[in-house]
Symmetry: C2
Subunit: 376 residues, 2 copies
Amino acid sequence: MIVGVLGGGQLGRMLAMAGQRLGVRCRFLDPDPHAPAGEIGELIVADYSNEGAIARLREGAAITTCEFENVPASAASLLERTGRFFPGAGALAAAQERLAEKSLFAELNIPTPRFAPIDGPEDVEPAVRRVGLPAVLKTRRLGYDGKGQLVLREPEALASAWRALGSVPLIAEELVEFEREVSLIAVRSASGETAFYPLIENLHQRGILRLSRAPAPDTPPGSGPALQQLAQDYARRVLDRLSYVGVLTIEFFQSSGAALKANEMACRVHNSGHWTIEGAECSQFENHLRAILGWPLGATGALGPSAMVNIIGAPPILPEVLRVPGAAVHLYGKSPRAGRKLGHITLRAPDEPTLSARTERVRAIVAAAEAGGGVG
Amino acid sequence: MIVGVLGGGQLGRMLAMAGQRLGVRCRFLDPDPHAPAGEIGELIVADYSNEGAIARLREGAAITTCEFENVPASAASLLERTGRFFPGAGALAAAQERLAEKSLFAELNIPTPRFAPIDGPEDVEPAVRRVGLPAVLKTRRLGYDGKGQLVLREPEALASAWRALGSVPLIAEELVEFEREVSLIAVRSASGETAFYPLIENLHQRGILRLSRAPAPDTPPGSGPALQQLAQDYARRVLDRLSYVGVLTIEFFQSSGAALKANEMACRVHNSGHWTIEGAECSQFENHLRAILGWPLGATGALGPSAMVNIIGAPPILPEVLRVPGAAVHLYGKSPRAGRKLGHITLRAPDEPTLSARTERVRAIVAAAEAGGGVG
């Protein structure tokens, strides 16, 4: 059975690995001839606008899907017109544009940071007045890993903001004071079955995810089950509204009192869910495949406490990491470059204190490699 | 990093999968153009006696290894002469010939069934007299999955036994009355580090492994830790004697009173260890790679009770299996054929009764497929 995938990054690579043992072969379309998924599955090297390439991608494929968010609308709608494409062009469109995304959350009564559209330089001042200072200005499209964002703290900074972000449509958002960031990975199958992984606690630095812990530690103490329920309730509204099929990730800001504000969503498997490969009954990658193929979903429970440390910029010394008990190393086959996600390490432990100790050990090894610029 | 592997069966396939996320690429040599590992790694299709093919296998490889037992001595010694080949020609030679294997066990004071060599038809009667009736006659080489064996229960059967087994050198063995079969998967790294997985309980039917449970249930009650220690002690003697590097599996008969008799050993990852992919901290496949590459070994502890059900002859209806909680399906990409191992299913559960219930459910699904000859 063949599944066609738009995008051939590490998410596609891990999707293909999950498929290997289920008799599912992933085929990828990516303009990069060195796309990481090409080591695992067939890779068609072409632009996403290449209709011939898209035809080859779906030739004989049971289904098509995507592994990155910014799929061009033309590619998504072509795949949807000519076969089954999940999560669907509509879901992608809602997630690709920050104003549409926030408006969807608001419409579904899912709390979000205050927001206001900016269509031209003259909108900056009134929009920021609506959301208040400090504010974050974001390009509505193509932002990821903290790119295309600007934090405004002083009124003087407003004048230059429009041009600093490239003179494109923006959204102004309230800069939320949050206790932590959490994400929920949800999955809905073609047959309508849904499942939710435990909430994940995420730590970003310089706009890049560094560390995830799952299940998210109970903060404040005792709030865990209610918080999980709240996040699932919000996610279910989105799944239902979009008739979503596949894995959907929603990132939330959590403020004091266990309140959640939806920050953004990703219509795909997610970096914060990589721990599910070793740490959950069934991984997000396998569940995405099960969902789009209409198979029964796998159990989403955690096997115990897990953590995930991203490898950024330079690979760590492998034997040093392998010496840490419970460490599972995932390298994506990418060449080192500052700020680039090259792999991740999942850690498991029988209890939280052991997990924390192992995690700190691995973070130190990974940080040393990043600081040193790599050991090759 | 490239690892060259003699043999491209499902064991090689799973070895390659374990390597994918560690930056290790496996390259295979197998005479079968449809060898299952060829879907995952580069496959050189040639006979094992083809020296040019062996040269290509080890070209640029950090190390070479094997994934089946009956590696021709010529191939093993060529690889050993021209580079690093683990577990080594000596270890393979000891495991390939049943008389050498049993003699090694005896020499290391590891209990075995009584045995005696049969070099010609005239040896059958005295050999069987030494081991007693009922006896098992086995070809000394190339037996697997119950092939090349004959059980003698009556003296009259002796006369025809030599020719029935092909007029080749045999070994006569006492037919042990055992309570159960267990296996121990041991691993020793190039740096001398050793590790042992929990004992596994195995159920064979018609000479083929059907079911493994790990850690092996405590039989008799309370004997678990002592039995584990005993098996590890025996395995360590073999590892040390052979200066073994890689995964080594020893199969034992367990009789009443928690006594173990070594039946045979396999110088490779083993079917009874497939549960380690989901059920142990680090799988046998990853640990074999770590061992031969001289990396620190991964933890061998079980995450909880696991079971493994082999898929024989015909594939089960996939969604039926996926509906069983905690079931991880592994298909090897082989075409169905009676008696052929096509895949396996690992089951995990929070406790033994739940595991047993899930296992029985999966065994019924798998048995129905085998009886029906497959659903494709």
